[in-house]
């Protein structure tokens, strides 16, 4: 049982971090960023290049992933989403744009980083073993702690900084925020950059554990959407809750349902369909939007 809980918490922390970026972008701009998974992959490859290819410390790789993805996010918002949102009132225009960016990033990643699975050496050696009741490698514990720290830092930023307050105001009511003097364009760009940066950071963190490959983008996006569906789209606390719930469901399912074959995600999807039928706005979302 201890192992199942620890696995669930570890998975939940990384999932929550992935979902945070996606839900931030959705809350600020009403954009479903289908390219979020590809941004995660890009971040992983940047860390890989810096650490494994150039031999620089892991922390430099993480910072590089964060910066490059933040710049990428800002450019995507300014030059792609902003003109489309200005010219088109239809939600599907931004969805199609996001899908296009996902395909483009897939192709760019293949060209820049190749088709192979990549990984960086373990940043911490050794395994925590509590009498074989709980086994957890130290590097996973470190990644878990870093993920929690990033989540706390993100919440603090949103709660106590001027930028965070402006973004929350935008998320609550775009028009009212604009009338109160919030620079919508500026904070949309910052929000998108922050969302992309979070995706890049998770990619950079997990490249030390799971490695990274070209094909991880799509499934990562799907899991991120699952999490915000559970927690409620556009709600920060909902993304965190969704991440931990999905992580725990996956951990419990893989252990308890193992004898029945690979039905964990089948059960998760079925449960989600029933759940959404009763609560389409998710756990913490608002039914009016």
């Amino acid at each position: 049982m201890e192992q199942i809980l620890a696995n669930g918490l570890y998975l939940g922390a990384q999932y929550a971090l992935i979902a945070l970026g996606l839900t931030l972008i959705f809350s600020l701009m009403n954009v479903l960023n289908f390219a979020h998974g590809q941004m995660y992959v890009f971040g992983g490859f940047v860390t890989y290049t810096v650490v494994a290819q150039w031999g620089l410390p892991f922390v430099v790789g993480l910072v590089a992933s964060a910066l490059i993805l933040a710049v990428m996010g800002a450019l995507i918002e300014v030059f792609l989403f902003r003109p489309v949102i200005r010219k088109s009132k239809r939600d599907e225009s931004t969805m199609l744009l996001a899908a296009g960016i996902a395909f483009f990033l897939d192709a760019a990643i293949l060209l820049l980083f190749g088709e192979k699975q990549r990984g960086v050496p373990k940043i911490v050696n050794g395994v925590f073993n509590w009498d074989f009741r709980l086994i957890m490698p130290y590097d996973r514990i470190l990644i878990f702690v870093l993920a929690i720290a990033l989540i706390v830092g993100f919440i603090a930023l949103m709660q106590y900084s001027k930028t965070g307050r402006a973004m929350r105001a935008l998320a609550q009511d775009r028009m009212a925020a604009q009338l109160m003097g919030v620079d919508v364009d500026r904070y949309s760009m910052i929000g998108f950059a922050l969302g992309a940066m979070l995706a890049g950071l998770v990619g950079g963190l997990l490249v030390t554990i799971t490695g990274i490959n070209l094909g991880m983008g799509g499934p990562t996006s799907i899991k991120a959407f699952l999490m915000i569906m559970i927690g409620g789209a556009g709600v920060i606390s909902g993304a965190i809750a969704g991440g931990f719930i999905l992580g725990m469901m996956e951990s419990v399912g893989l252990t308890v349902l193992a004898v029945y074959g690979d039905i964990t995600y089948l059960v998760i999807f079925a449960s989600l369909m029933v759940f959404l039928a009763f609560r389409p706005q998710g756990l913490m979302g608002k039914p009016w939007g």
Binding site: Q3, I4, N7, Y10, L11, Q14, A52, D106, A107, L110, G114, E115, K116, Q117, R118, G119, V120, P121, K122, V127, N129, F132, I135, P137, L206, I209, T210, G211, N213, L214, G215, M216, G218, P219, T220, K223, E250, S251, L254, T255, A258, V259, G261, D262, Y265
Partner: protein, 395 residues
């Protein structure tokens, strides 16, 4: 005077440059060979290593004057199609090859794609070389598919027997991705293990290919206490993570797979935890590779920046196609002539040292020669490189 000498010089230079460029104007006829496989998405590594092997070899042939078939030198052109691991797209790809009048195609890479293209290939006289294991593709009445590698039901018994005899393996567990190829390989592997007298302690645990934490997947498997953990049909992307998780959970037994892997990927993803991992490869290890193989690796690396060890096996399909057509030039656009030639075809294997031969095999597995003979080289990973564990021959 000065003007006249300038004209003379110009005329001479023009004549000289045309005479120097002479051979370039006499271009070789082109022989097109197709590739239909997956070069994007999660399984991109499988098809990309195929495509790049073919392109590297074709460039080499073309650079050295072409491939001699019946006294004529042909340049080789690779026509590629990314099927995205989707059977519908694989069919579209094979139809495109038919429209381009291509008779020899390498791929597809997976079971459902290979099965899907069969009608198109047979209707359009295309011989194709899948990297897929279903026996019905290669047994009569099917006759246009030629297995491009060693199947797991051929390599599995050899590996298990070797480990039983040399490492005292008695209990084996299988874990596979929840996809058609790995599940098929798991089932046939478990059947073979039982036939050999091994106790199969676990063969029901599967995982999603996008799993990011294999600890919960492997826990119930390792609790059964296997001596050998078989990663059935594992992709190069998942292998390092599975090995790493198993070792971190305290598993000290053997780990093996019947698919080809890449040493660099294992080293990066699992480091020294991958030491002792057993996999199947081509003529990859230094003691087996011929000078031609070494030059192929060098050219591939120069062309694409990095070599992929999976290409040790995938270099062969194009070589077989060209060598068989060279043995019977009528096969150039007549697949019946190709099939006839296959029965007796034999040529030196240029990629291995010693007297290894290129020949078609498969009589024991399929009742007809519908498999290329590549060496069954069982490798063990150690400190970043593969070492040869043992070598066997199929058929």
């Amino acid at each position: 005077m000065r003007r006249r000498s300038f004209l003379k010089t110009t005329a001479l230079a023009t004549v000289a440059s045309f005479s120097l460029l002479g051979p370039a104007f006499a271009e070789n006829p082109v022989l097109k060979i197709g590739f239909v496989g997956v070069t994007s998405g999660p399984a991109a590594a499988w098809g990309t290593s195929n495509q790049r092997s073919m392109e590297a070899r074709a460039a080499w042939i073309n650079e050295t004057g072409g491939y001699d078939i019946g006294g004529t030198k042909y340049n080789v052109e690779i026509v590629s199609f990314d099927d995205q691991k989707d059977p519908k797209r694989a069919i579209a790809g094979m139809e495109q090859m038919a429209q381009a009048k291509i008779h020899y195609v390498v791929g597809p890479n997976v079971d459902d794609g290979a099965a899907a293209v069969r009608p198109v290939a047979e209707q359009n006289n295309i011989m194709y070389f899948p990297y897929a294991f279903p026996k019905e593709l290669y047994t009569a009445p099917a006759s246009n598919a030629i297995l491009g590698m060693v199947a797991n039901y051929q390599s599995g018994p050899a590996i298990y027997k070797h480990l039983m005899d040399n490492n005292g393996v008695k209990k084996v567990a299988f874990v596979a991705a929840n996809e058609s190829d790995p599940l098929t390989q798991r089932d046939s592997g478990a059947a073979v293990a039982r036939e050999l007298g091994l106790e199969v302690v676990s063969d029901s645990v599967t995982y999603q290919v996008d799993t990011t934490d294999f600890t919960p997947v492997l826990l119930p498997v390792l609790k059964t206490g296997p001596d050998l953990l078989v990663l059935s049909g594992v992709s190069p992307a998942n292998a390092p993570q599975l090995i790493r998780s198993a070792r971190e959970l305290g598993y000290t037994g053997l780990i093996s797979t019947e698919t080809a892997q890449d040493a660099a990927v294992l080293a990066e993803g699992a480091g020294e935890l991958a030491n002792g991992f057993i996999s199947v490869g081509g003529a990859s290890t230094p003691e087996l590779a011929s000078d031609m193989m070494k030059e192929f690796v060098a050219r591939y690396t120069k062309m694409f920046g990095e070599y992929n060890d999976e290409s040790n096996t995938k270099v062969y399909a194009l070589e077989y196609i060209l060598a068989t057509i060279a043995a019977n030039p009528a096969a150039m656009d007549n697949v019946d002539a190709f099939k006839t030639t296959m029965d007796t075809f034999e040529a030196p294997n240029p990629y291995m040292v010693g007297d290894a031969k290129l020949k078609y095999v498969g009589d024991s597995s399929f009742g007809q020669k519908r498999q290329i003979s590549v060496p069954l080289v069982v490798n063990v990973f150690k400190d970043g490189v593969f070492e040869t564990m043992f070598v066997a021959q199929v058929d």
